[in-house]
Symmetry: C2
């Protein structure tokens, strides 16, 4: 993987609007594994310098994506303990450690899905917002367990339609609503299930705009809200003011009007106080602050 190929991959990473943060983190680790094996270097320190540089470039490309920050930082710090190896050994070990990160990320997601399915159980009506790959995997596991799903359009890009189509393919009974009907339908669900773009240190959820509205409505109606995501999605700290990404106004598909600014902020923040359970690979937590966590699995 030469410099040009790496730069191309880096630009793709910056521009991506389709893949989830965890999937992108795994792609970054794959780039680093391939870099470890193929970057030109005459000695170990040269290789480590270039791998560290590439890792930092990837981290800087999507600063708000916690899995990229967390998984790549862990890999980067593992490099520091490798200076006793020969160059060929170093290539192999650094690549293996990157692949370990990919494996850990995948295993964490599998466990999150297992824990969510076990905790939610059968015969439930679940309302969700936007399209989360983790929530989708939970629905797949629940498809033969008398599950009904309420899905939002999720403007502006309507990824809720993609979710509705998948549920239809799995023969899961679904209702598709406009985002504006979230208040009406929250009361008709047994629970809210949301994935996460990321979690803040206090357990607050950053997720697709509209998640906060659903959380407010669920709270007002007494319907519990569960967030399911791997612990890699936790931001350890937020530097300065939290920035919520704003995308192209053109996604709304409206013609421009003088004096009218079309806004398209992708994420909103759901305060931890509106969330009832945090489900990660370790279990089900009644608090969003990990240092004070209580693991609560059914039957325990």
């Amino acid at each position: 993987m030469d410099d040009l190929a790496f730069e191309t991959a880096l630009n793709e990473l910056r521009a991506d609007r389709v893949l989830g943060a965890s999937e992108l983190a795994r792609r970054c680790l794959d780039l680093l594994a391939r870099s470890a094996q193929s970057v030109p270097a005459n000695e170990g320190s040269e290789l480590l310098g270039e791998l560290t540089r590439r890792c930092d470039c990837l981290i800087a490309a999507r600063p708000s994506m916690a899995p990229i920050q967390n998984l790549l930082a862990a890999w980067r710090s593992s490099l520091a303990r490798l200076d006793r190896f020969s160059l060929p050994e170093l290539r192999s070990v650094a690549a293996d450690k990157a692949r370990d990160g990919i494996r850990q990320s995948k295993q964490a997601m599998v466990k999150v899905v297992e824990n969510s399915v076990e905790y939610i159980g059968s015969d439930k009506t679940i309302i969700t917002h936007s399209l989360s790959s983790t929530v989708l995997a939970v629905f797949e596991k629940l498809k033969d367990r008398n599950t009904r799903v309420i899905v939002t359009e999720s403007r502006p890009l309507n990824e809720g339609y993609i979710l509705a189509r998948q549920l239809s393919d799995w023969d899961i009974s679904a209702q598709l609503i406009t985002d504006a009907q979230l208040g009406l339908f929250a009361a008709r669900a047994d629970l809210v299930l949301l994935g996460a773009d990321s979690l803040l240190p206090d357990g607050s959820l950053i997720n697709k705009s509209g998640s906060y509205l659903l959380a407010l409505a669920a709270h007002d109606c007494g319907v519990p809200l569960y967030v399911c995501c791997e612990s890699f999605k936790r931001r350890k700290e937020v530097m300065g003011e939290l920035e919520l990404e704003e995308m192209e106004a053109s996604e709304l598909g409206t013609s421009s009007l003088p004096g009218v600014r079309v806004r398209n902020i992708y994420f909103d923040i759901t305060p931890a106080g509106l969330i009832d359970r945090w489900i990660d690979e370790a279990g089900v937590h009644a608090t969003g602050i990990l240092s004070e966590e209580t693991h609560r699995m059914p039957g325990q």
Copy 2:
């Protein structure tokens, strides 16, 4: 206005999805005024019988529209006191009373707008949802008073675009957002201003779906919510379970999927506890229950 013309008008009333409830009520009164003058009748009691029948048909056509119920019921009960008149006098008086109702309705709206403008004042950022003719009239009066407006798309029919276009024509600075961004933008406004489809006896608001979400977000952020509408929009009572009209699923513009039911409920209910001020033609009220009302105008 013969029976056929009346039936045609009645069907138009049933099918209308564009005009507000107050405007439709005034059109009903105009139909009754014209009926009073032209319905074939040999004596007063015959005329009164036919006018009462037509009035009842109009009332039954849109049972959830409070102004139609209220203004037509008032006109209908005024007919009961007219049996001492000759047939030509009766025609003239019944028609005049219908036109009085139209005038009262228009005057009430003018006063609601005046009271709202006076209470809101200059230099405000106002967030609203959907398109209310009363709220639109308030914005027109506020256009030279340094007013900024945050407008939602209001899916599925996007009437927010119509509002944004009008604001642009008036040189009022506006931001247009998806309904899903209501939670992000409620916090950026000084106040929420909503019109009403109708008000329930306890002061709860029935309005376009999404209003409840905006109210929850505003309440959570400490931003006050004002509802402005004429007292004719109050439902005196709700018989049985309250029914919220559901429109055609096709309005969402999605292709049909097996097992997926597309929902399009037009109205949601905002509990009175989320509303800070009710503005009607009599003034500004701090409670939604009219029997316990306290009038509070600025400076009082």
